[in-house]
């Protein structure tokens, strides 16, 4: 084996290689279709262009997916994030809409505190159902997914609440250093989660709970508390995403805000390489996954693929991404190409199995 060959293998073997490759291919395809796709210009002192749109629009998804990554790595799942987005956004907007001075900073901060507060309560509710009472996560969070939409409708009284508040709008549309503020918020959240999970033992504890909660409990980890906190974190991330989504259009729509974002978030987590069964998690992979999903959505509009075929188009791309991400599938593909049958239980296919952290 040559030196370059092994280096190439090291690069392609990196877990982020394939998501990055997919993203690059998608951007390249768009650029071929419309050469101006990647161009960014300065408009009104801000950077302006499709890549910036993708970054800004993926910010809420990145936030939700970060929380989802942590929940999934504990072996759970949180289906209620979309509803939490809607509730937090609706509460914040309805509070602002009732105030005489919607532009006052105090009003906006109170609204944010209210929205964030209710998200913490909802996250705690999920956490109690899963960690204390022991209901299966998919069922426990399904309750809030369904009921939460109703709650959001109740807050907005079935109407779309339009607000006129510049400070609130800034969360979705403001700019800092020529880039959208939403991007910085998502980045800050990512760094915060990364710092807590990777610079302290917390990340390893989460992974061990997800890998084997009984073993980790016997090893002295309070797995219940870790699981509980994961759901609270997920709801908190969803709340901030809800602020961004509602601020983006200066209105709260209890029906549509954050609709199906839980599925996109789970997809982002899977594309990022975190196993749904729990255990190891990859925050950087999740962020890439979210960017891939938003790029895909934007591509559909940019290439003007007809709405009737766009869902099929998305499905095909997503399946391709997931397959190419799976080492077992790649191994089978290369085996077939080489025509040399190898041991069916080769190490790559085993690596996808539920990973247990040697703690």
């Amino acid at each position: 084996m040559t030196d370059t060959g092994s280096r190439w293998r090291a690069v392609t073997g990196h877990r982020l290689f394939w998501p990055v490759a997919v993203l690059v291919v998608m951007l390249a395809a768009n650029t071929i279709y419309r050469p101006g796709f990647l161009s960014v210009e300065v408009n009104d002192g801000h950077l302006y262009g499709t890549p910036i749109d993708i970054l800004r629009l993926s910010a809420p998804l990145i936030l939700v997916a970060l929380g989802m990554t942590v929940v999934i790595s504990t072996g759970g799942i949180d289906l209620s994030v979309g509803s939490v987005c809607a509730i937090s956004g609706a509460l914040a907007c309805s509070y602002i809409s009732q105030q005489p001075d919607q532009n006052s900073l105090a009003v906006v901060f109170t609204a944010l505190a209210l929205g964030f507060g209710i998200a913490l309560v909802l996250g705690a509710w999920n956490g109690v159902l899963v960690a204390v009472i022991g209901i299966q996560p998919i069922i426990a969070t399904l309750i809030l997914m369904v009921a939460g939409r109703g709650l959001a409708q109740l807050i907005t009284e079935g109407q779309i609440i339009t607000i006129n508040s510049e400070p609130y709008r800034a969360i979705g549309l403001g700019h800092v250093l020529t880039l959208p503020l939403a991007v910085f918020i998502a980045l800050a959240a990512a760094l915060l989660v990364a710092a807590f999970t990777r610079r302290t033992a917390l990340g390893m504890i989460i992974e061990s709970v997800g890998g084997n909660s009984v073993a980790s409990r016997l090893a002295g980890i309070r797995s219940g508390r870790v699981v509980f906190l994961a759901y609270v974190l997920s709801a908190a991330c969803a709340a901030v995403a809800g602020f961004m989504i509602t601020a983006n259009v200066s209105s709260a729509d209890g029906n549509a805000a954050g609709l199906w974002i839980e599925l996109d978030a789970i997809l982002a987590v899977v594309i990022g390489g975190t196993a749904l069964a729990g255990g190891r998690f990859y925050l950087s992979g999740t962020i890439l996954g979210a960017l891939i999903i938003q790029t895909l959505t934007t591509s559909v509009y940019a290439m003007n693929i007809s709405p009737q075929t766009s869902l099929l188009f998305k499905a095909v791309v997503v399946i391709a991404v997931c397959l190419i991400q799976a080492p077992a599938f790649r191994a089978r593909l290369t085996r077939r190409r080489r025509g040399t049958p190898t041991n069916p239980t080769s190490p790559p296919s085993q690596a996808r199995q539920k990973e247990e952290v040697p703690a």
Binding site: Y48, G134, Q153, Q159, I160, V214, V249, N255
Partner: protein
């Protein structure tokens, strides 16, 4: 762990039971509204039983309010039931009305099919039925007297006709982008069809891009952003509802263009926020899709009760708005 699990089990059972009770209780509480009264006892007031789809949008809320107010005004006793988007609730409500021997039954069907049996029961009991807003697909048209509702194709056509008139002096091509409603929904299909038929009158008018914005503001905005990037020259935006148009406004402003001037904007619905944008000159034209069919419904109820013949299809009284008309209409806008 095992020991802990066991000790938790009663808790879990109790919580599950509690959750079930709460869920069932809330559904039951919502489902049973004022259908219990003794209809037609003594008073010679006309009694109308109405079953509403639910309360999923501001449009629907306005629809309900209109019906309730019109009934009070017309001196009709209204039995109102909210079906919570469930067909079985609606069938139950209609059977209730039949038992209570109301004079007329009206309802907005949740879905199109599966109504034959209950409609036949009403017919056998001699109670006339009026459909509002949405149709049923029963082959036997004698099961209901009439269908009162909007004509989505017409709304699209009116929008297109206004555009043809507005752009008749245009010499070069006029580039139109279209924000469609939820893919496959009746309003989206019909509005697209009506609009396309109308603009065919002028070959200069060309739809250069058409995408679904799912009837939401966020959807409209996101799609419009990409339309603006991909098409340097957009002259007209046609949005299948106000909300998508309102979302698109933000994208247009962010792109440094003036909505209503650089890009002519046409939408459908005429909800309050849309009318405000029209009055502010940000939209140029709205074709109304009115939920306020209460007064028409009460008229019809009286007619069918008196045994008069009514046409099998009646369109809701709807109009179109220009900015000037919007300014006038805005103070009295109910939804």
């Amino acid at each position: 762990m095992r020991k802990m699990r066991t000790s938790l089990r009663p808790w879990r059972a109790a919580a599950t039971a509690l959750a079930t009770v709460l869920l069932v209780g809330s559904v039951a509480a919502c489902g049973n509204s004022d259908t219990g009264g003794d209809a037609g006892s003594g008073s010679d007031k006309l009694v109308l039983g109405f079953s509403q789809v639910g309360a999923e949008s501001g449009w629907r809320t306005a629809n309900t309010t209109s019906i309730k107010e019109a009934a009070a005004e017309a001196g009709i006793e209204l039995k109102f039931d909210d079906a919570q988007q469930k067909q079985e609730n609606q069938i139950k409500a209609i059977r209730n009305y039949i038992q209570q021997k109301v004079d007329v039954i009206a309802f907005s069907p949740v879905v199109e099919s599966g109504w034959d049996t209950v409609l036949k029961e009403a017919k056998d009991a001699g109670i006339p039925v009026i459909l509002t807003d949405r149709a049923v697909d029963s082959a036997d048209k004698s099961l209901y007297k009439t269908f009162l509702g909007s004509d989505f194709v017409k709304e699209g056509r009116l929008s297109g006709e206004w555009l043809v008139e507005n752009k008749k002096s245009a010499t070069g091509p006029v580039n139109i982008v279209e924000l469609q409603g939820t893919t496959g929904s009746a309003p989206a299909n019909d509005r697209k069809k009506g609009f396309a038929e109308a603009i065919a009158a002028n070959p200069n008018l060309k739809i250069v891009a058409s995408q679904s914005g799912d009837f939401t503001r966020a959807g409209g905005k996101q799609v419009m952003e990409q339309f603006l990037r991909a098409n340097p020259k957009i002259d007209v935006l046609f949005a299948h509802n106000d909300d998508m148009g309102l979302g698109a406004l933000e994208a247009i402003t962010a792109a440094g263009k003036t909505p209503g001037k650089d890009i002519t904007i046409i939408t459908i619905d005429a909800v309050k926020d849309g009318m405000q944008a029209l009055a502010d000159g940000k939209f140029n034209f709205i074709a109304e899709c009115s939920p306020l069919l209460g007064p028409q419904l009460m008229d019809l109820a009286k007619k069918v009760h008196a045994g008069e013949e009514v046409p099998p299809r009646i369109e809701t009284e709807e109009t179109t708005f220009t900015p000037e008309q919007a300014k006038e209409a805005l103070p009295n806008r109910k939804y």
